[in-house]
């Protein structure tokens, strides 16, 4: 199979006609059914009928993560709840998570998109798709799962963790495609070595890896150690989940499925649209979604677009691998972490100074998040037991809030570096 859906190879002209038609009907519907968008469009005097060409997209207002938070949980849904068949959620910047909803048709569309990604990574209905992304509110596990089923491949719903068991099943069931975060793929390779599992005992041929930033150097390492073809998959729950874009066999950027999303690159400071090739913030507009459609959603991810034709035959534009963030969000083992969330938890613990720092490192290919907290005279006890209780309390509260395990390190006052102006909250030591 070369591609899953003929849409992927549509002629550009026809694709753009389709985009325009879908954009119009999306804006129409949002204006009619979502008060938030009606207000936003009214504010700038924009009528749905004003969209004459795709260039008019840039006149539309942006949507941000804060807008989702302000309309928590279901305020931006464009259909009544009886039509929503699935909810997913990801972490917000503070407090409330970002909640997304899917109609039955959305679930089918999403599964179709993920099926496309599996085929782009060399998969077919013959494959056994080992899904080691987390199942649950996180879109990773269920997203890949439904995509594998849509393709007609065999989905193996492993979820994360228990690496030795993952490997045993990989051997026994003959998994051929591994879906997980790139750092977990490396961890699997390591544990495989420790267990003495020879490479020819596993049938893996490809990896669909994403949900965290990685590099070409890491790809080389994964491909060598696991002897697979490693493909970067991109997505975010606000837009749909995994399956917004994927690397084809060329591995020169990720094809954005433009029949469903219109990507733009903007200057994060001015909001101005930047020409192809230029680096800036990625922005997506949903044009084929019912439950939650966002106009010009600012991802805070930094990338650029490549409009040159791809030898693979897909006509959809390619985005460069994510080069960073415009905000301070961290991705730790696939989980989004905002320093502001940690701060919110720490502020609730009496006696903890508002000085903290997050140190992320990659130890044996697993991300380790350390929360460094200064000990004030108010909480300092000369009994180690009490200090350990304090550590445990901070750890438990931060972990339950973030959904990712952390190590807490108590520090002396004023030992965390103060900066002039914006505090340095994050030290990222991962070499990716």
């Amino acid at each position: 199979m070369e591609y899953f859906n003929p849409m992927e190879c549509m002629e550009r002209e026809i694709l753009e006609d389709l985009q325009l038609e879908r954009l119009r009907s999306t804006v129409d519907r949002l204006y009619r059914d979502v008060p938030f968008y009606r207000r936003k469009l009214d504010d700038i005097g924009f009528k749905p009928g004003d969209i004459a060409s795709l260039d008019d997209l840039r006149r539309l207002p942006f949507t941000t993560k804060d807008d989702l938070r302000d309309n928590y949980p279901f305020g931006l849904f464009a259909v009544p709840m009886r039509d929503i068949v699935r909810i997913h959620a990801s972490s917000g910047t503070t407090g409330k998570p970002t909640v997304v909803g899917y109609t039955a048709a959305d679930i089918r569309t999403w599964a179709d998109l993920v099926a496309r990604t599996i085929v782009a990574a060399g998969g077919s209905p013959e494959d056994i798709v080992h899904v080691a992304y987390g199942y649950g509110l996180f879109t990773g596990g269920l997203g890949l799962h439904y995509g594998a089923e849509m393709l007609g491949a065999t989905a193996l719903p492993m979820s994360g963790g228990n690496t030795k068991r993952q490997i045993r099943m990989m051997v026994d069931f003959g998994s051929t495609i591994l879906c997980c975060t790139p750092s977990y793929a490396l961890n699997i390779a390591e544990v495989m070595r420790e267990m003495g599992v020879a490479r020819d005992e596993v049938r893996l041929k490809a990896g669909i890896l994403g949900a965290e930033p990685w590099s070409d150097e890491m790809r080389v390492q994964i491909e060598e150690e696991l002897r697979i073809s490693a493909h970067d998959i991109y997505g975010l729950s606000e837009v749909v989940g995994p399956g917004v874009s994927i690397e084809c066999g060329e591995k020169m950027g990720l094809h954005v499925f433009e029949d469903c999303f219109i990507p733009e690159i903007i200057d994060p400071d001015t909001g101005e649209v930047l020409p192809p090739g230029q680096e800036g913030e990625l922005v997506f507009t949903n044009i084929n979604k019912e439950g939650l459609s966002l106009l010009r959603y600012r991802t805070r991810d930094i990338s650029s677009l490549n409009v040159s034709p791809c030898p693979c035959g897909r006509t959809h534009v390619r985005m460069r691998r994510i080069a960073g963030r415009t905000d301070d969000m961290l991705i730790v083992r696939g989980v989004n972490v905002f320093p502001s969330q940690v701060e919110a938890v720490l502020m609730q613990i009496p006696g903890i100074a508002p000085h903290y720092q997050l140190v992320v490192d990659r130890v044996e290919s697993l991300d380790v998040l350390e929360v460094q907290v200064e000990v004030t005279p108010e909480v300092f006890s000369d009994e180690i037991r009490r200090l350990e209780e304090l550590e445990r309390r901070i750890r438990d509260e931060v972990q339950s809030y973030l959904g990712v395990s952390v190590k807490v390190r108590l520090m002396e006052p004023r030992s965390i570096q103060r900066s002039e102006g914006k505090a340095v909250r994050v030290i990222d030591r991962r070499k990716i």
Partner: protein, 143 residues
């Protein structure tokens, strides 16, 4: 009967203990006894000094996290069984010991045991009831 112990939070990094001690040295504070409790990431330095107020002041000025803890100091004969004998009345009185450390007096005839206990009043009564000398603050600072 209660002795003021100065406790200092120390991160586990090289030179921190030296800096803490140098800071006391410059203020001419004399350390009478010292113990360190440690974990992987940090330690707690426990000090009996000749001038606790001054010690707390200079340490705080130098950005150390300092706290004051009440402990009791008991003189015990410096011979086998000395410590066991002093623990017996505490055990009988159900007193919980958080930690203790010992040092030997200059004369070399008796040792001093410093206790941190949960029930300090109860401990003092139990020790005195069994004939032990619970040292007064000034005595300890002067050792």
């Amino acid at each position: 009967m209660k002795v003021r112990q100065v406790s200092v939070f120390l991160e586990n990094k090289s030179g921190r203990l030296y800096e803490a001690c140098r800071c006391l040295a410059e203020a001419e504070v004399n350390i009478r006894a010292l113990a360190i409790a440690e974990t992987a990431d940090y330690g707690v330095l426990r000090l009996i000094v000749n001038d606790p107020d001054k010690a707390i002041r200079v340490m705080t000025e130098n950005a150390f996290t300092v706290s004051e803890t009440e402990v009791i100091a008991v003189e015990v004969p410096d011979r086998p069984g000395g410590l066991a004998a002093v623990l017996a009345p505490l055990y009988d009185a159900n007193v919980n010991i958080e930690y203790l450390y010992c040092f030997v007096e200059k004369s070399g005839e008796s040792a001093v045991v410093v206790f941190r206990v949960e029930q300090i009043e109860q401990a003092i009564r139990a020790l005195q009831g069994s004939g032990f000398t619970v040292m007064r603050e000034e005595e300890v600072y002067r050792i």
